[in-house]
């Protein structure tokens, strides 16, 4: 996979769309976790959310960029 893709004649790093997709995924995951009440068993929900985002973004990035 190339490191940059062309969007409307501009070179954009592939990580940028991946970042946006991970944000969307996180939003969905966040809603699911909230719906099933998992955040109640967690000491620091924002930290969990941040860690979750790091996991999602890194795994997607590694998956695509390899």
């Amino acid at each position: 996979m190339p490191h940059e893709i062309v969007v409307f004649d501009a070179q954009v790093p592939v990580l940028l769309p991946i970042f946006l997709v991970s944000l969307l995924l996180l939003w969905g995951l966040d809603g699911l976790l909230g719906r099933f009440g998992l955040y109640r068993h967690v000491w620091h929900p924002p930290l969990v959310r941040l860690a979750l985002f790091a996991c999602v973004f890194c795994s997607l990035g590694l998956l695509v960029m390899r």
């Binding site: 009440g37 955040y39 924002p46 959310r49 941040l50």
Partner: protein
Amino acid sequence: MGAVVQGWFDTAFGTHSAEARAWLRGAALDWLFVAKATFAVLLTGWLAMALDLEQPGTAMMTVAIVIHPQSGMVIAKSFYRALGTLIGCAAAFAIVGTFPQQRVPFLLCMALWLGLCAGGASLQRNFRSYGFVLAGYTAAIVALPVVNHPQNVFNSAVMRVSEVMLGIFVAAIVSDAIFPQRLGDVLRESVRGQFADFIVFVRDSLRGALPRPELEKAHLRFVRAVVQIEAQRSSVVFEDVGVRLRSPRLRRFNHAFMAASTSYQSLHHLLNRLQADEQSPVRERLMALAGSLADALGPAGSEPRTAAQAPALSLRLAASAEHLPARAQVLRDGLQARSDRLDFDTGAELIQRIATELHEYSDAYARLALRNSAVSVAEAESNFAHANDWAGAAVVVARTTLTMLVMGTFWLASAWTDGAGAMLIATIFSGLMATLADPLRAIGYMLVGYFVGIVCGIVCLYGVLIHMDGFVLFSAALVPFLLPGFYLSARPAWPGVGAGYLLALLYTVAAKNTMGYDALHSINDSLSQLLGVVCAGAAFMLFAGASDSPWLLGRLLRKLRLQVVHACAWPLRGLLPRFESASRDVAAQIVAHTRPGSAPSREGLAWSLAVQETGRALIELRSALSRAEVPMPLRERIGAAMAALAALYAEPGREKYWQARELFSVSIDEAVAYPALMSPLHLIRLALLDADSVLGAYLRPSAQEHDHAA
């Protein structure tokens, strides 16, 4: 976490008095915020320099603007700021692409875009308005520096977006992940406070009289509580997924509160009117009926502290609502005269309505604490309606556009090198301040902060930073200058001073990988910035907002009265929540734009009470009409009366007042056979007859000459 820090302070200072503890806790939270904000600014600066961005200073300024003690606020603000920045960039491309070499159409287009964005911002209540302003001035900060080299607009846009986004992300993560102070806790406290306050208020005042000034005060408090909870809700949804899922319930809770408080005020208006006449038997009986409702609200001196107590209260209220009709029947039997019975029936129906609505209110509160997040139909339908005055928005558009055009013309005509900067600052502030209640005062504070910030920035840059090398020393030099700014913005005593100071400081320092030390440029730039702020102030004097313009305030007042017209005319479905929220939204705007206790403020409150009572009774009347089998002639008669009332509220006047009053008297005489219609009709007529209400002005001076008409 904020809670951890609070807990630590509770144990550490447990032996001291509660007052000292509260002060220490407040101070500790303030300094926690200062530390977090300073850390976020420096972290952003370091990242921006490491990533080789063009102006790390812009990213640092972004953090200083976005950061706030409560993390929900930061995330909401960041979200809208990100959206606004992206839209602004797109607009910059479009404008530069359309007029690459023509400066006059370019400036015109840019000014119009900024004006429209500022106008859109003034129509919003939460941080969405901030997103609108951002969409405007991002276009300007992207396009203006490259106005002579349009081919660079893309790089300029990419750089600005990267800097702003970096600042936003760092601010959001630092404020949410490190010792967050949750806005959700503040919201929970507001909701609990509103519930306890209202239940206690109703219980304590149900048995006694509540004079009009007290009612006005209570009304003001309730309007504020409603608007505040709605505003906090719209920010907390970004912070807390639990609140996001329960958001419809929270709206439902707020609507139940609005409905109950309107009915409750109507009851007191009725009791006050009965007290004025020789109708004490009716009044006494109604008080006895109200007393049995008050018993259901719990013993005096207790207060519902947690949502866990709400279900029990809800059950007691349901039981009380069931017993009320029988008790009302017993009390009614002692009354002989027809008019007494009518008064009593109207009051008894109000009390029963209050019982039902209080039950719904405590039920909504109990449902807030439930763990599942299914949304009922009533919850899904309760949207909060806002009411806006388009003339106010038009003034904002004109002010912002003209500010930019005048400054731009001056810049082009004088070929002043820093003219673009002055123009930009003036435009930014005329957009940003337009959403505030008292923009002139805010600009005054901002100007003070700006001036001090520039002086400190120059001292910092040429006194300290010039001797420093490397990021660690740079941070060490900057921290002492940042701390007071963040401390000031954590304390609401001088709003805007801290923000102005930080903006000016970071702008003057203009952190970069290779710092520039050009004293002449710094001073010229600073002067143009100050001039920009002053020009924004002048624009606010020329194009006054509702706080300083009786014309705009009058229009807001009219907007408030028009809610009654809407209550007559709009389709019934969903009308009640819409009316209750929109009328309180306008009332809150009027209160925000007037000084507390001043004549316009009191007039607004008086109208708000009248609108609330009459509008609600009209909606009850209309739904009774839609349910009952009523012959056509009576339906038309009542329709004509409602139209006359709507005309009275649209343009108050003595003639219209007497016409509406007469038509309602006739309708009541004809509607005797339809008890469902009688109490709303009677309530509306009593509201018209009330000499203490705002309509009383049309009643008093020339009452004699119209006596025959009545």
